[in-house]
Amino acid sequence: MANPLTAETLGGGFDDAPIQSARAFRAALDAMARPGRIHVIAGARPPAPLSAAAGTLLLTLADGTTPVHLAGDIDCDALRGWITFHTGAPLVPAEAAVFAVGRWTDLAPAHRFAIGTPEYPDRAATLIVEMPVLEAEGPVLAGPGIRDRARLTLPDPEAFRANHALFPLGFDTFLTCGNRVAGLPRSTRVEDF
């Protein structure tokens, strides 16, 4: 058994799941509905190197029906055990993932992920990208959820431009850093600087 039942694996979940997941979902919902806006999202205390924000998103959204892909150093025994214990989500390769977690360099190339089908564009992956910094500056964003213009730190503007070109297909993204989260749905246009 690769995942010993340690305090690290068993701990760090929600203390009051219905309330904490409700608050976390509202933060995630507003982040996805208003690209460029950064929210604090908290509750989970996952083992390193996963951020509290990414861990909270997984506890709020993932379960036994949503295969999760762990990329790069996120794919370690401690986190495999933690996610399996707390969510029951199957851990899968990138192509089969409903949620994929990792740094951008580990998640790339992004075209591996599900982008939905023409009849069911919702059957697309959601990426949770761990960022070294997350600020409302950088590339200009426009589209639904944005009144005029927004700015957001992006790991690779070109990849998100290519993803938007697939609309209504494409993956959707949460960017996480520490206890902060921002959303970048496929509907967002990434404009020139």
Partner: protein, 291 residues
């Protein structure tokens, strides 16, 4: 069984996660109908089971909930849903649009402008705008995927050919961000302009039909029309008889057996607010006076 025996906001956590994932995908693809595994709710289909499930998935203990049915806070459907969430989620409730953080609505958009801090949840009976033109779900799915909306324009054209104008007065189809044709739920077409560029997040839940869709804030929503027959939101040629408002959506009320009638705001909170502020309509009494 006591209310405390229910999970927060009635639904179990696995169900809420499933609904929350559907809502997020709906937000990411504005106007696209996302299937979800709608649950049996302790109320019949047609009483807002879709809206109730979306509301349950979104509520936090800090929310202040308003529920309206055709604009009214005090009809059976609105009272019972408000009471349901007061009991199962312990949230505060209100009738005032400006005080609410989450508003569940059946067939109206409040007159008072919504803000960025609000979510509007619509109860939707038939989410598929093409359903009465094409009954087969695989076909309508294909039509949406191919952006094949000619049939909808034919329907509006036939309205014009038969009646001289587009006769659709509610459930009026819209196009979202130039891509998906969407059913705005049976709101009067008077409310359609409020869908577009709205600062609040708008979520749509259809319980029996098991669909969720969404309009993120500031989304472009265009009512379908023709160059020579532009969209007309329409307005009853009257002012509110209670508060005198000339810009609100009105209900026509028969008041005697001799053909007498009056027109009153369908949005009860808006009407009460105006009367409290001293506005008096043709048949209105000053606020506070005995009826």
């Amino acid at each position: 069984m006591t209310e405390q025996a229910y999970n927060f906001a009635y639904l179990d956590e696995q169900t809420k996660r499933m609904i929350r994932r559907a809502i997020l995908k709906g937000v990411a693809v504005p106007g696209c109908q996302v299937p979800f595994a709608s649950r049996e709710m302790p109320m019949p289909y047609g009483w807002g089971t879709g809206g109730v499930q979306v509301t349950a998935a979104c509520l936090t203990p800090e929310d202040r909930l308003k529920v309206i049915d055709q604009g009214a806070d005090d009809t059976t459907n609105a009272v019972s849903i408000r009471s349901f969430f007061r009991r199962t989620a312990g949230v505060a409730v209100t009738g005032a649009t400006a005080d609410a953080t989450l508003i569940q609505t059946r067939h109206r958009i409040p007159e008072h402008p919504l803000t960025e801090d609000q979510i509007l949840v619509y109860q939707v009976p038939i989410p598929e705008p093409l359903r009465f033109l094409e009954p087969r779900e695989p076909e309508t799915r294909k039509m949406h995927s191919l952006e094949e909306y000619g049939l909808m324009h034919v329907k509006l054209y036939e309205d014009i050919a038969r009646h001289g104008a587009i006769a659709t007065s509610y459930d009026y189809p819209v196009k979202v961000e130039g891509r998906y044709v969407m059913d705005p739920s049976p709101i009067p077409k008077f409310d359609n302009p409020k869908l577009s560029g709205c600062p609040a997040l708008q979520l749509f839940g259809a319980g029996r039909e098991q669909r969720i869709y969404a309009l993120p804030p500031y989304t472009s929503v265009v009512s379908l029309d023709f160059d020579d027959h532009p969209f007309d939101p329409g307005k009853a040629d009257h002012d509110c008889d209670l508060c005198g408002a000339g810009d609100s959506y009105l209900d026509e009320v028969i008041i005697d057996d001799a053909g007498g009638r009056m027109f009153v705001c369908s949005d009860t909170d808006f009407c009460q607010g105006r009367r409290a502020a001293g506005h008096i309509g043709r048949l209105g009494a000053p606020a506070g006076a005995a009826a």
